[in-house]
């Protein structure tokens, strides 16, 4: 068993946790914004896929990873814009529209991919990393944590930016009010629909970048249905975190570590079926819920469209 904890294994594990965790982190942070504002965003899986496709397409055509992330943000935002129009503006069922958008994005991206790339399956070159001077020389964790593509640092920094936003700014307060007591926000003279629209569009941007990360950094290519439930894990992370971005980060790393454990164990020469390891993060969350099951403090108006004057 001692060969399990070699340097190579640990580096592979931490690296994998980060690579698999960043898309989940971005999805979870994005979903959190929507949920804070009272929109249960089930379309996030579709937003991620759309971001993954456009993110790959742009990165492949332009050769620029940053433009690729821009494309991902745009892809996520396109899907989010439909959701804003139908769920926030018109107040249609968030469940129906969310699932429809996910199904539609799955089909559309797979179709477009098939028409464009099914013969060639092009790959992107590896992404350049940005070593942080000094820190990246630490043994084991240095290369895994501090020699990553710049987007990884940005995603982690976003956790603290969002935490500050919720805590110290008017916008953060407005978002929470839109989720907890939209009528009060309306009475205070703030447009509930606009606040929620901003929230859902931000979700689209973050989820789209998360999808683009999956395609451009993680896999190096676009595969139909490649998000494979990452958006739903994002929903769960956001709900478990109860409005605290730091918890989303912790959860994303836990899930990422478990998802990448298979590869790391293969590096160490241990052969365990993938499915067993894939059960780990879910089993862990269930165990935590059973042990510390408390009442979830979800926003009171979560999932309810806001209609002015309705009771």
């Amino acid at each position: 068993m001692e060969h399990l904890f070699t340097q190579a294994f640990l580096t592979a594990l931490i690296l994998g946790a980060l690579t698999a965790g960043i898309p989940l982190l971005l999805a979870g942070l994005g979903e959190q914004i929507s949920e804070q504002a009272g929109v249960l965003n089930i379309g996030i899986e579709g937003m991620m896929l759309s971001g993954a496709y456009l993110g790959f397409l742009v990165a492949y055509r332009t050769g620029s990873i940053w433009l690729g992330f821009g494309g991902g943000a745009l892809g996520g935002m396109l899907v989010a814009a439909v959701m804003v129009l139908l769920c926030v503006r018109l107040g249609l069922s968030q469940i129906v529209i969310g699932i429809a958008l996910t199904i539609g994005a799955e089909g559309m991206t797979a179709l477009l991919h098939q028409f464009q790339f099914s013969q060639s399956y092009p790959r992107l070159p590896g992404v350049a990393t940005l070593p942080i001077p000094g820190l990246s020389d630490i043994p084991v964790i240095g290369p895994a944590l501090f020699n990553r593509p710049a987007i990884v640092y940005i995603a982690v920094a976003l956790v603290f930016v969002l935490a500050a936003l919720y805590r110290f700014t008017n916008l953060g307060l407005n978002l929470k009010a839109a989720g907890d007591k939209p009528a009060a926000l309306d009475a205070a003279g703030v447009d509930v629909v606009r606040t929620r629209a901003v929230a859902v569009l931000s979700t689209g941007i973050l989820a789209g970048i998360g999808g683009a990360f999956l395609a451009d950094v993680g896999a190096g290519l676009f595969i139909p249905f490649m998000t494979n439930g990452a958006g739903f894990i994002g929903i769960v992370l956001a709900m478990l975190a109860r409005g605290r971005p730091l918890y989303v980060l912790l959860g994303a790393l836990l899930f990422g570590a478990c998802l990448s454990m298979t590869t790391a164990l293969q590096v160490a020469g241990v052969d365990i079926p993938t499915d067993v390891i894939q059960m780990l993060p879910f089993a862990a969350v269930m165990a935590v819920l059973i042990a510390f099951g408390r009442r979830a403090s979800l926003p009171a108006a979560l999932g309810l469209p806001y209609v002015r004057g309705a009771r």
Binding site: V82, L86, L90, G91, L92, S93, I95, V96, I97, I99, A100, L101, T102, I103, G104, A105, E106, G107, M108, A110, L111, Q114, F115, P224, G229, F232, I233, I235, V236, M239, L240, P273, D275, V276, Q278, M279, F282, A283, V285, M286, L289, I290, G293, R294, R295, A296, L298
Partner: protein, 365 residues
């Protein structure tokens, strides 16, 4: 048609409301579903043209396979069986205000357990008994898989969206582990369970190829509809769903009812798994997951939890998915297009319902 109009005109004035009632009862729903369907055909037709495929050819193929050709229609009706059971499962939960999003895990685990036991049982007892036992077993497995979310929700107030989603991810992986490691058929190279011989499966209806699972599905949807709308038990559940706190004050045993709803809903999802295995698949291959639950959720919502409307929507969806597969092969459009078609239809159905709602509010005001 003209004779009817004549009768309508000949009626005395006080009978006029019947005409209005008939309009709102039958014609409006028909228009409300036909309108979005036509609009969907237009939208996706434009998409097909953009892909360089004739929409006429595509729709013709969908219609031919989905409705006109007997073998296609029989396939559609067979596909409806598990979808209807999943719909019944979701309806029970949603009407009682419980978000059971774990249907896929409950479905898949029940399917795996049934696939593992059915080939053994049929060698020891008459088919009808084996099939009945398997269905009961599937219902039990489904219900068991929802037990933890049910107890957490009922007694700890833990949000069931999280727990059921967790259990569904867990269940899908666990089902794979079972197929690959425990219930493996040693005679095959690809990991899958033993195959139930065709003769021992659910009987076909009459002389067709339609699985009798369809009857199980129809009965389940209608029974659920009647129980939820016509019985005291259903009323209690709906009260819990509408306002759990009020239900508590009215003296209803909310935690116990919550557990009952979970058990019922998950048992129906498990039954769907049994019907699919015993009627269609015969075995479970590794990584098989049709993920019916996710696609049925919007259908059930659009039907506003009404059983009869659910049957229509499930039929429409089955026609699209079976017909779409065939149309994809014939016209060279990848099968993914069916997903786009379904998505556009769902969006437009939701928009139509919204427009109707607004219209009614305005006419009332």
């Amino acid at each position: 048609m003209s004779a009817e109009a004549g009768v309508e005109a000949a009626r005395p004035a006080h009978a006029a409301p019947t005409g209005v009632a008939a309009w709102s009862r039958w014609l409006r729903p028909v228009l409300l579903s036909l309108g979005p369907i036509l609009a969907t055909l237009l939208f996706s037709g434009a998409l097909l043209l953009a892909f360089g495929v004739s929409p006429i050819d595509y729709y013709q193929a969908v219609l031919h396979r989905g409705i006109v050709s007997p073998s296609g229609l029989q396939e559609v009706l067979t596909r409806m069986a598990p979808l209807l059971l999943v719909a019944a499962s979701l309806t029970v939960a949603f009407r009682a205000g419980i978000w059971n999003l774990g249907g896929d895990g409950q479905f898949l685990l029940a399917a795996v357990v049934v696939a593992a036991t059915a080939p053994l049982l049929v060698t020891h007892m008459p088919d009808w008994l084996a099939l009945a036992l398997c269905m009961a077993l599937a219902a039990g497995v489904g219900a068991l898989w929802s037990l933890v979310p049910a107890l957490l929700r009922a007694y700890q107030g833990v949000n069931e969206i999280i727990t059921t989603l967790m259990m569904t991810f867990l269940g899908v992986s666990f089902a794979n582990v079972l197929v690959k490691l425990v219930f493996l058929d040693p005679a095959t190279t690809v990991p899958q369970t033993r195959t139930l011989p065709v003769d021992d499966r659910l009987p076909h209806l009459f002389d067709t190829r339609i699985s009798s699972g369809l009857v199980v599905g129809l009965v389940a949807v209608i029974l659920v509809h009647l129980v939820m709308t016509r019985t005291a038990f259903g009323l209690r559940l709906r009260v819990v769903g509408a306002n759990a706190r009020a239900a508590m004050h009215a003296g209803l045993p909310v935690p116990r009812l919550t557990v009952a709803v979970f058990a019922l809903s998950a048992a129906l999802a498990g039954l769907a798994g049994a019907v699919e295995i015993l009627g269609v698949e015969g075995n479970v291959r590794a990584d098989w997951n049709p993920a019916f639950s996710l696609t049925v959720v919007p259908l059930v919502f659009l039907a506003r939890f009404n059983g009869y409307a659910t049957i229509l929507f499930v039929f429409l969806f089955s026609v699209l998915s079976i017909g779409g597969e065939s149309a994809a092969r014939l016209t060279g459009v990848p099968n993914f297009f069916t997903l786009v078609l379904v998505a556009i239809l769902l969006l437009l159905l939701a928009v139509a319902e919204y427009a109707d709602h607004r219209h009614r509010e305005r006419t009332r005001a």
